[in-house]
């Protein structure tokens, strides 16, 4: 079942220097239980794509669909019902004065179910006592787990992950990746995973989209894109990643 679809998305920014085309005719589709990876370097438009898909900024052209229903132009208050964003810097995605429990409850749209929170904590590998902590008292990895738990508590079906491991250490990153892999194999994860690291993306995602200069240069299943890349830029990325693996 197709959960999320984007058709010919365009985004132009009007600023003082003139006119920037941050997103050019990007299309994608995400099925239930699937993880779509978006790879690109800085300035490739991958973050703009996330902001457009999540409703933080409206697209200048194209349409967005959730389960076949158009939601183009809807703002995060509405889109939050079916998609949640996991931010790059998990710590700053929690109010520094709020306990984790309150922050998670806040995302329940009125629902108050402590049992469910405890279950989610177990799922992401955290303990009950961490609920009374604030963001400053937790490590980056723990905060990232908390924000995954918070997103699940909302009962939104889709996670949009924006470079969620790039602020973490290698070993912490590996633990978060393991968590995502586990969630995926349990069939609980439908997500768009944005990263600059193609190796990381290949470990988690079913499909990969490579972006450069606001355009999607290649799209396909992970096996296709990694195994037989067609585009020169994809080859360069894979080559760099190969050289960086030990």
């Amino acid at each position: 079942m197709v959960l999320l679809e984007g058709k010919n998305l365009n985004k132009c920014f009007n600023d003082k220097q003139g006119y920037t085309n941050a997103l050019k005719d990007v299309s994608f589709s995400l099925n239930k239980g699937e993880v779509l990876g978006v790879v690109g370097e800085s300035g490739s438009g991958k973050s703009t794509l996330l902001r457009v898909v999540s409703g933080m900024i409206p697209p200048t052209g194209g349409s967005l669909l959730y389960k076949g229903e158009e939601y183009t132009g809807k703002r995060p208050r509405k889109t939050g019902e079916f998609l949640q964003v996991i931010f790059q810097n998990a710590k700053s995605s929690f109010d520094p004065r709020m306990t984790m429990e309150k922050a998670i409850l806040e995302n329940g749209r009125g629902k108050k179910d402590r049992a469910e929170i405890l279950e989610l904590l177990k799922l992401v590998g955290l303990e009950e006592r961490q609920l009374s902590k604030r963001a400053g008292e937790l490590s980056g990895g723990q905060c990232q787990r908390m924000s995954i738990a918070r997103a699940f508590y909302s009962e939104a079906e889709i996670l949009l992950c924006d470079e969620i491991t790039s602020a973490l250490d290698v070993s912490t990153q590996a633990r978060v990746v393991e968590l995502l892999q586990k969630l995926k194999s349990d069939g609980k994860l439908s997500a768009i995973f944005i990263s600059h690291d193609i190796a990381l993306v290949s470990m988690i995602c079913d499909k990969i989209m490579v972006m450069k200069g606001g355009r999607c240069v290649e799209q396909g299943t992970t096996a296709e894109v990694i195994g037989s890349p067609k585009d020169e830029y994809t080859k360069l990325l894979i080559d760099s990643a190969r050289r960086q693996s030990v």
Binding site: S54, M56, R75, P76, R77, K78, T79, G80, E81, L83, Q84, V85, F87, N89, S92, S93, F94, D95, P96, R97, A103, E106, N107, G108, R109, S147, R150, S154
Partner: protein, 273 residues
Amino acid sequence: MKHGTRREKRLRNRIIATAVLALLIILATTFAGILAPNDPYATSASSIRMAPGAQYPFGTDNLGRCVFSRVLYGGRTTIAATFLLVFISFLIGTVIGMLCGYYGGILDTVLMRLADIMLAFPQMVVAIAVAGILNAGMTGAMVALGITMWVSFARLARSHTFSIKNEAYIQAAFFAGKSDFYIIMVHIFPNLLAPVLTNALTQIGTTMIGLSGLSFLGLGVVPPKAEWGSMISEGRAYIQIAPWAVLFPALATIITIIIFNYLGDAVMDYMEV
């Protein structure tokens, strides 16, 4: 860190020491009714311009009223009015600042231009003009000062709201479906409270000068009522015969202002560490 903590400890001690002094002054003036040895309004023809002594610790004025009692009662007027004024300006300014910072657009442009206009004139000049138009009395003086005072709170609250608004946790609150009112009250207000409250503390000293100044010029309290500024003003006429009638209210004003300014500075330094 050792260096940091030592500095922090010193600053904390400074805050505690000044806070205790400030509290003493507030308590002394609040309980003026108990502490004052004489009725501050009772005139007595037999004890005009008496030098400080056992019965009248700070002497008496031209009408034979006890200067010590009047200083205590006058402090109550000044301090209560100052706190009330700072609190109201803080509330109004912070609300305006948060709305401007949060919504931006026309609302922000209009209100901030208005703030700029307020700041274009020296505060005291505006206050004198406004107090002159309004009827004399403490309320008039407070309105006159308050007209420019909200600006500093509004600007501070606005700039903090701007930076908080761009934090990821505000975005997260959007995705949680929270309303603007909820976000402003639960996420923005508590997070900008500390710097704005610090500003309020530093404003207390200036406000006191302002209120006493207006009273000194006859634009504040109406004479029989005790107030430091008006007491100094009255006593000025016979300063050569009875200097104590000017000296003690002036000393009280200076000491109080120094203590509150020092407290504000200490808290500000502490927040910056």
